[in-house]
């Protein structure tokens, strides 16, 4: 008869063995077999009642397990870590709620009876004792719940409404003035467009978190791309030592690197190679500065029976929250004393009570610090080739222009209103008078012009298409207009569009099918030259160059090729321009430069452009010629641009700026799910597509077949993601109209 306790310990050992086999996926077979043999022989001997002292024997087997686990822990690879965090035995958020917090109440639904069971929200309490006094400190715990493989949890892949629910309770925490602890356990967001839309909701979350007036602590176990960013813009970011934080899953990266088509699977070697080169581990992210601290886990990762780990986690979470509170204090002496007490490794944080409420001024300092922290990240990952004297000159000009702009907008404009109104009235009267006086002369001129038109010649002359005056209405023509070729409209099967002659299509028609209005993609230059006033475009920061910060194999040459082909150093062009004399700052993501992917350099330029717009008080337009997402080969250097650029946009909008986004061709993933999707005014050019993930990725991750045109701008408009669709030939007029109507009198101030 086997003792119940021994039986339980055998089951636990068996689970540890299964875990080992799963996370190493066939590697370290010798060690795994050794453990398997020892456990099997022990069970056999126990069955045959050959064991005299089962307690001592099983203890020695347990010791052997621990020894092997410790040994294997030192040789763990990034891909092993990916398997660890996805394993059903991995700790999940409910384990943390039960073991780290003293008590909790779930407020976002229960188990499968929830708007989205993969997003768990709870009000929890941490109890601390100082002397004889007891303090209950409430927190809002938000995070993805994987539920030890429970199917309804969807592996922690949160649907858009789950993220909306998280945002709703973040606002509740803000109202109540309690800290937020967010736990990131997600392989990525569930990529569907149903309202509120995966991308748009993540963007709203990031935008909201950039200004939350309560301390936010994020703890990352599995930080998969946009899904992680939706709840992790925090004052302190802690990471579990066996977790990963990455711009894309290694499998996704392998599919892109291997140029795999839908349905094809990447080889394990390629996936391992990508995991290695994406630098996704906690140590990597700490060295980049994207996380603040690593919480060390037991060998081969924390599982629900590692109670010591939960104690460590509790200490670290309390320490991080206290630190955030301390950093908002004003008095330097008290601040230093408190910080020193808390940073001591052996400090008993349970006994060091700090009130987690903040005054109104402290809340402002907290938000400012969080924003500053994110704005300062990843600059080292972009190659800034601006000469030092240019930077000095720019700073000097800032010193002069800042007071001038402040005087102009804050003082002069206010007092000039009355004079302007008076002058306008005088001007109106003068124009009416002038019109009456000059109207006979204007009529005479019109008649002469009519006589001089060469209508007859136009109708009878042979077509000389390269010199055709009809094309002169555009300042720039696509080079494709010189190719004598016909093209078929993709809608020809539905609308019966006839073939279009290239010189007409890319010349006079501006790439628009004259039968159905389908918009063929045009080059970024077409917009730069045709939308804005002639010779008004002044590019800045062109010296900031896209690089290869992770030294991703073969990537430097690919970037160099893209630079050579496009004649630009990065995929983002930032410039000042005018539309009918309205000054505007534009950041243009170019779909021709590595699919318009956003890396550290592009993010850097975008942030600089937003800051320039704030300084100069100009409207800010993000024109997205095309973007495929964040640049995966730059890993978290690219991913961090999501919160970083959103912070810049939030600061600009809060300063009173008008931020507009115009999507063209194809816009997907990270940028849409952050600094583009957060704009209150988003428009799209006709025939463009926008969304979170492409059809292949949706099929791969959700198994759902999506209908054709699922991502079309018309669909996005129906779902409420964008505010309007513009014809390409009308962009200039529409932009002018939007600037006048949305921007108001001063085009900047609300």
């Amino acid at each position: 008869m086997i003792d119940n306790n021994v039986e339980k310990r055998i089951v636990a050992l068996h689970e540890r063995l299964v875990y080992l086999k799963d996370i190493f996926a066939g590697k370290h077979a010798d060690d795994v077999n050794l453990l398997d043999d020892r456990l099997t022989s022990f069970r056999q001997r126990l069955k045959e009642e050959e064991v005299s002292d089962p307690y001592s024997d099983i203890a020695s087997v347990e010791d052997l397990f621990s020894y092997v686990e410790r040994k294997l822990d030192s040789s763990i690879t990034p891909m092993d870590k990916v398997r660890i965090v996805r394993h059903p035995q991995r700790i999940c958020l409910r384990d943390i709620l039960e073991n780290v917090y003293d008590t909790f109440t779930e407020v976002g639904g229960q188990d499968e009876y929830s708007l989205d069971p993969s997003m768990l929200i709870a009000r929890a309490v941490i109890t601390r004792h100082r002397g004889k006094k007891t303090y209950h400190q409430p927190v809002m715990v938000i995070g993805q719940e994987k539920g030890h493989g429970a199917e309804f949890r969807n592996g922690g892949s949160v649907k858009p409404w789950g993220n909306a629910k998280a945002m709703q309770f973040m606002r509740v925490a803000e109202t109540e003035g309690i800290p937020i602890h967010s736990y990131v356990f997600t392989p990525g967001s569930f990529p569907i467009e149903d309202y509120p839309g995966a991308a748009q909701q993540i963007a709203k979350n990031i935008y909201g978190m950039a200004g939350l007036r309560v301390p936010v602590i994020a703890i990352i176990s599995e930080g998969g791309s946009g899904g992680a960013e939706a709840i992790s813009l925090a004052d302190r970011r802690l990471m579990l030592s066996h977790g990963y934080y990455s711009v894309i899953s290694p499998e996704g990266a392998a599919a892109i690197e291997g140029h795999l088509k839908s349905g094809m699977r990447a080889t394990p070697e390629l996936i391992e190679h990508c995991a290695e080169n994406l630098h996704i581990t906690a140590a990597d992210n700490l060295s980049f500065g994207y996380i603040d601290r690593i919480i060390h886990e037991p060998p081969l990762g924390a599982r629900p029976w590692h109670f010591d780990f939960f104690r460590t986690l509790r200490q670290e979470v309390i320490r991080a929250t206290d630190e955030v509170i301390i950093q908002t204090r004003l008095l330097p002496v008290l601040k230093t004393l408190a910080r020193n007490r808390h940073t001591r490794p052996n400090a008993d944080l349970e006994g060091l009570y700090i009130h987690w409420g903040l005054s109104a001024a402290a809340k402002k300092r907290l938000v400012a610090k969080r924003q500053k922290k994110f704005l300062g990240l990843s600059k080292q990952a972009a190659c800034d080739h601006r000469p030092w004297h240019a930077k000095v000159l720019e700073n000097l000009s800032d010193c002069i222009s800042k007071p001038w702009i402040s005087f102009k907008y804050d003082f002069y404009r206010k007092h000039q209103r009355k004079i302007q109104t008076f002058m306008e009235e005088i001007d109106n009267e003068w124009e009416t008078f002038k019109h009456r006086i000059l109207s006979p002369w204007r009529k005479f001129r019109r008649d002469i012009e009519k006589k001089n038109t060469k209508q007859g010649e136009e109708l009878t002359a042979l077509s000389v298409w390269t010199k055709d005056s009809r094309r002169k209405k555009w300042n720039y023509l696509s080079p494709r207009y010189k190719i004598d070729q016909t093209l078929t409209c993709p809608n020809s099967a539905d609308y019966g569009c006839l073939d279009l002659w290239g010189p007409d299509l890319f010349g006079e028609f501006a790439g628009v099918c004259s039968y159905c209005g389908y918009h063929f993609p045009m080059e970024p230059e077409w917009y730069v030259r045709n939308v804005f006033d002639r010779d008004s475009v002044m590019e800045f920061n062109s010296e900031i160059e896209a690089g290869n910060p992770l030294a991703f194999p073969d990537f430097a040459s690919r970037i160099a090729k893209a630079q050579e082909r496009n004649g630009t150093r990065s995929g983002c062009m930032t410039f000042e321009a005018r539309i009918s004399n309205i000054k505007i700052i534009v950041a243009m993501l170019m779909g021709t430069f590595r699919g318009g992917s956003v890396g550290a350099a592009e993010g850097y330029k975008f942030v600089e452009a937003a800051e320039r717009a704030t300084k100069k008080r100009y409207p800010f337009l993000a024109y997205v010629h095309g973007t495929a997402g964040m640049r995966i080969q730059e890993g978290t250097h690219a991913l961090i641009q999501m919160p970083r650029c959103t912070v810049a946009v939030r600061r600009y909008i809060e300063a009173g700026g008008l931020y507009m986004v115009l999507y063209d061709t194809n816009s997907f993933a990270g940028p849409v799910a952050s600094f583009l999707g957060c704009s209150p005014y988003q428009f799209a050019v006709r025939s463009s597509n926008l969304g979170f993930a492409g059809p292949g990725v949706i099929k791969e991750t959700t198994g759902i077949d999506i209908p054709p045109r699922y991502h079309r701008s018309t669909e996005a408009l129906s779902r409420g993601h964008i505010q309007g669709i513009w014809d390409r030939r009308q962009i200039r007029a529409n932009l002018k109209q939007a600037l006048r109507t949305i921007g108001g009198r001063n085009l900047y101030y609300r």
Binding site: I483, T488, D499, D705, P707
Partner: protein
């Protein structure tokens, strides 16, 4: 009266439909390497979003255009003599022999035997309460219709109008519309057959269901 069994025998004698693929316009033809007797697929996918098998490419003004199979079937004629030649619009490129499926045969027979009463405008259609009760209690075959009979309620934007049936006297054989769904103008609402035809149609449909296999 139409002899339904004879019609079925006719279909059985030639259980396929030949689809001629022609060029949509002028151009130079290049065949995709198919041979006589090869099987081809029509457009596939839930929304027919995947093109059928490529038969040839027609190039005009440096604009190659694929010519694909429109139905599943077998190539029974292929004009490979046109390879590399400039052809006129509507020139036959290939012929596909498409074996009729059970549903298609049913459709052909019902189309020839039933009188279809069509929707006069886009709206939601319901049977009048008496007819609806009768259909629920027994089946649609139990409803006898005659010219001028009040049969439908046409509902559009909360406007409800009685719609009388117009056409020959008979029984409702099949109902094509669903509850609470908008029906386009011109789409069939019901199929009517005469009392005498009903057993014959039912028998033929049963025969198709049991005999028409593997086509």
């Amino acid at each position: 009266m139409l002899n339904i069994s004879e019609l079925l025998d006719q279909i059985k004698a030639q259980p396929f439909r030949e689809i001629e693929i022609t060029t949509p316009h002028t151009g130079v033809l290049t065949f995709a390497g198919l041979a006589l007797g090869d099987q081809v697929q029509g457009p596939q996918g839930q929304w027919k979003e995947k093109r059928g098998t490529l038969i040839a490419t027609l190039e005009r003004e440096r604009n190659p255009k694929p010519i694909c199979a429109l139905e599943k079937g077998e190539i029974c004629a292929l004009h490979t003599e046109l390879e590399g030649k400039f052809v006129q619009a509507n020139t036959p490129v290939a012929t596909i022999r498409h074996m009729l499926t059970r549903e298609e045969v049913e459709h052909i027979i019902l189309k020839k035997t039933l009188y279809l009463f069509r929707a006069p405008e886009r709206a939601k259609y319901y049977f009048t309460p008496e007819v609806d009760k009768k259909i629920h209690a027994q089946d649609e075959h139990s409803v006898k219709v005659r010219d001028g009979m009040e049969l439908f309620i046409m509902s559009r934007m909360k406007r409800e109008v009685h719609l009388p049936y117009t056409g020959p006297k008979g029984l409702i054989y099949t109902v094509y519309f669903k509850y609470n769904e908008n029906i386009d103008a011109g789409a069939p609402l019901i199929g009517i057959c005469t009392q005498e035809q009903l057993p014959a149609i039912e028998e033929v449909i049963m025969r198709i269901k049991t005999e028409w296999t593997g086509r």
